[in-house]
Symmetry: C2
Subunit: 64 residues, 2 copies
């Protein structure tokens, strides 16, 4: 399977796991909707910093 | 391997393949940088509409 783990990066560059095994990522004006293969869903006020799909890694940065 | 194919969606909703086997996706203010596992790189003036990682699909929408 080819899901990715979604991390939030803080100002220091440290990563915190937000949701694992993410399948769907849908950005909107205000937030990013993420949903994993287990049906867990989150709306995150953030922007996408970088995706490294081979590493199964999506890094978000908070907008707050 | 867990790369994705990146498609551009037009106004009618039709998808055109932009780059296959994409590993890295890095959005910036003006464009989205994509790079595949073969080292092919593109800068696309677009926004991310949706990612379906299990389907290996990233859909962009043109901003032009």
């Amino acid at each position: 399977m080819c899901e990715a783990n979604v991390y939030m990066e803080n100002e220091k560059g440290d990563l915190t796991l937000l949701l694992d095994s993410v399948d769907k990522v849908i950005p909107s004006e205000e937030a990013i909707y993420i949903e994993n293969i287990f049906g867990e869903r989150k709306n995150v006020v953030a922007k996408i910093k970088e995706m490294q799909l081979v590493e199964h890694k999506i890094i978000l940065q908070s907008l707050k």
